[in-house]
């Protein structure tokens, strides 16, 4: 018998309104993890941005030119445990030095995709253990892809990379060093980048909202959506701006660009989306959508077959009928194909036979002609032989004399 889902009204205090608090306390005790991957060519601002986002020096800024050392993409990861307001976050940032740095960058996406999938596989392995211990979650929750701010549109390497990885990870494209572009250039560039992304049907992470959310959250999300891809700058240096406040930014002879100023760049929006509002959603999407897709694919290839008898709703008779119908169709198709092949073969054989017939006829004719010739030759020879045997007639003699007289 199915349980009835009726809405009942409480008549007194029960106490389960405290559930969220229990969950909250437990999750704080457990702590949170977040794994972020950064991909972009050397010198584009990956380390600076991460250090700026988390207000801590996770990456040392690389000074040396890495030209001679690099061929191919490496995967390195840095971990840090940071704490804010009693909440512990175990942050792991995975770097991909070498991406886009060689002359030939084909297959630069491969090691990255393999790394992401191996993390999924590791998780799958842990899930399938007979005795499950504490599962460590190393899966990549978000991948920040750094787009070079050329001002034109996406480069071939950008499109290729995003197409290869958008179904395996939450893609967040970001435009670093946005101080290269003026406001007009930036709007044009962003629209062309989004046009490219839509044209190639690349799925990027978009903040969505629940229709039941309050108006402020919805407006916030819509704002963020409008600014994607985010154009940001990063800085760990602070200066005093015009109004006397000390802010993080980059100081130029012509002015000071502030990291946290929303009219200068989209850094605040990026941080809000990535950390404040949608961090959990990123983790969720990784767990429920991306990981599950990978898992099903993996299990299919491993030979597991979907066992439909587990589903109560489906009807075994109908299923068998369906199967039989499909099978019949297949048989018919095969029959038709075999017929067609047979016809084709017959025709070929016919044409071949005709050809050989013609050849034979031609040869036969030739032989006949040859024979005829030979026969005539033989006749002549016979005549000659016969003529030399006879004595010379007087007529010949006369003729001969005729030749020499006069």
């Amino acid at each position: 018998m199915e349980a009835s889902n009726q809405k009942k009204k409480l008549q007194g205090y029960v106490g389960f309104a405290n559930l969220p608090n229990q969950v909250h306390r437990k999750s704080i005790k457990r702590g949170f993890t977040f794994t972020l991957m950064v991909v972009g060519e050397a010198g584009i601002g990956k380390s600076t941005l991460i250090n700026t986002l988390f207000e801590t020096k996770i990456f040392p800024i690389k000074e040396e030119t890495v030209v001679d050392a690099q061929t191919g993409v490496e995967i390195t990861s840095m971990g840090a445990e940071i704490q804010e307001g009693g909440v512990k976050l175990r942050l792991t940032v995975v770097d991909t030095p070498g991406f886009g740095n060689s002359i030939n960058n084909e297959e630069n996406w491969k090691p990255i995709l393999e790394n992401i999938e191996s993390r999924f596989d590791a998780f799958l392995g842990q899930e399938n253990r007979v005795i499950k211990n504490k599962i460590t979650d190393n899966r990549i929750d978000a991948l920040i892809y750094f787009i070079k701010p050329t001002g034109h549109s996406l480069r071939a390497i950008d499109i290729e990379f995003m197409k290869r990885l958008h179904t395996k990870v939450n893609l967040i494209p970001v435009i670093p060093k946005s101080d290269t572009l003026t406001q007009d250039e930036l709007t044009g560039f962003k629209s062309r980048v989004m046009a490219d992304i839509n044209y190639h049907q690349i799925q990027i992470f978009k903040p969505n909202w629940d229709p039941l959310d309050d108006a402020e959250t919805v407006a916030d999300c819509k704002d963020m959506l409008a600014k994607i891809p985010f154009a940001v700058i990063g800085s760990d240096k602070s200066y005093e701006n015009d109004s006397g406040k000390t802010v993080r930014g980059r100081k130029y002879p012509w002015g000071l660009i502030e990291v946290d100023n929303e009219s200068h760049n989209d850094f605040v929006k990026l941080r809000r989306m990535l950390i404040c509002t949608h961090m959990n959603e990123l983790k969720d999407a990784t767990d429920t959508v991306l990981y599950e897709n990978h898992r099903s694919q993996k299990l299919f290839t491993m030979g597991h077959v979907q066992d439909n008898t587990v589903f109560r709703e489906y009807n075994p008779a109908a299923y068998l009928e369906e199967e039989r119908r499909l099978h019949d169709l297949k048989m018919q198709k095969m029959e038709a194909e075999m017929n067609a092949v047979f016809q084709q073969k017959v025709q070929e054989k016919e044409t071949k036979l005709k050809q050989s017939e013609e050849e034979l006829y031609a040869r036969h004719k030739e032989m006949k002609v040859n024979l005829e010739k030979q026969r005539i030759e033989l006749e002549e020879k016979k005549k000659k032989l016969m003529s030399t045997n006879r004595p010379v007639t007087p007529i010949d003699k006369k003729q001969k004399r005729g030749l020499f007289s006069l």
């Binding site: 050397a42 010198g43 584009i44 601002g45 690389k62 000074e63 040396e64 030119t65 030209v67 690099q70 740095n101 060689s102 002359i103 030939n104 960058n105 084909e106 630069n108 070079k148 701010p149 050329t150 001002g151 034109h152 549109s153 480069r155 071939a156 390497i157 290729e160 060093k177 101080d179 290269t180 003026t182 406001q183 062309r192 046009a195 490219d196 839509n198 044209y199 190639h200 980059r250 100081k251 130029y252 002879p253 012509w254 002015g255 000071l256 660009i257 502030e258 009219s263 200068h264």
Partner: protein
Amino acid sequence: MSKQQSVKLTDYVGFDTIAAQIGKKIFKKGLNFNIMLVGESGSGKTTLVNTIFSKNFLESSGRKQAAEKSRKTTEILITTSVLTESNAKVRLTVIDTPGFGEQINNENCWVPLVKYIKDQHVAYLENEIKPERERVIPDTRVHVCLYFLNSGYRGLRQIDIEVLKRLCEVVNVVPVLSKADTLTVDEKMKVKEKVREAIELHRINIYPQPNPQDDQAEIELNNKVKKVMPFAVVGSNLTYEEDGEIIKGRKNPWGIINIENKDHCDFVLMRDFLLRTHLIDLVEVTSYKYYESFRTEQLQHIRDMRGAQPAQTTQQAQQTQQAQQVQPTQPTQQAQSANPFSIAIPAQQAKSPSFTKPSVQSSRKYISNALSK
């Protein structure tokens, strides 16, 4: 034996007007200036050229539409314009290279560039050794190649090193750090330092090269320029008003960049370098360094193909070695004594580390002599 003596004139004779006379002749002949722009899409090549000449006469060749496919190879795009300023006329040819460095696999992306440069040398040489040739040979040889570096990167990338090495063998190369408005003063110094180090490390011969014929002033100027290289530039043809002045620059919410301000970027230095001080030098160096070495190679090749015997070639080589230090007229006699079927090479063009500038007249007479045999 002719005697050479230096005489100091006491009265004013008036042949110091040579400069003006030469100037007039050159402009009547028409000066051709050919610039090649090499850099990834979006490095700011088109904007920079438009800024140098203060006129938007070039159009960007970047991919603007999503449905447009990106280029599969480096293309060559030529735009020729005749620029007039007071009484000077220059035929400016800008050679753009869309598709350079844009693909995922950029191996051999420099091949179309080097091929184009060499083709121009070939065309000039063909025109030059024609028995009946024009009074003024159209000069399509590339005089300078502006190589645009990624201002974000710390130094030179692999592709930069490969391409620069190959380009420096055939053309004057001037490296440029475009979009320098993304670098703070400290970063700018660091990046320039890194680039200069890498250039020295890989022995890339960028322009200007030291020339033993330079006088003190020229040497000083070249040293000054070398200290600033690579030029960190910003390009823009938009004007804004700041403090009552009209300035050319880029406007951002945090400030306005003034292109002509030496503290903001090196644009003025680069423009003066290219147009006001080193323009003729670029043309000359192309002619007597890159073109001459190409020519030597080609004519030597022709001579080898015509079958000069090995003994005679060594004898000739010895003769040309001796003749190296001598006046231009002497090699003609020696050539006449050589194998009549070979085009002997003028002594000055034998490979020597010092780049002596032979007079154009003597080599012309020489070739016509050689060919008329």
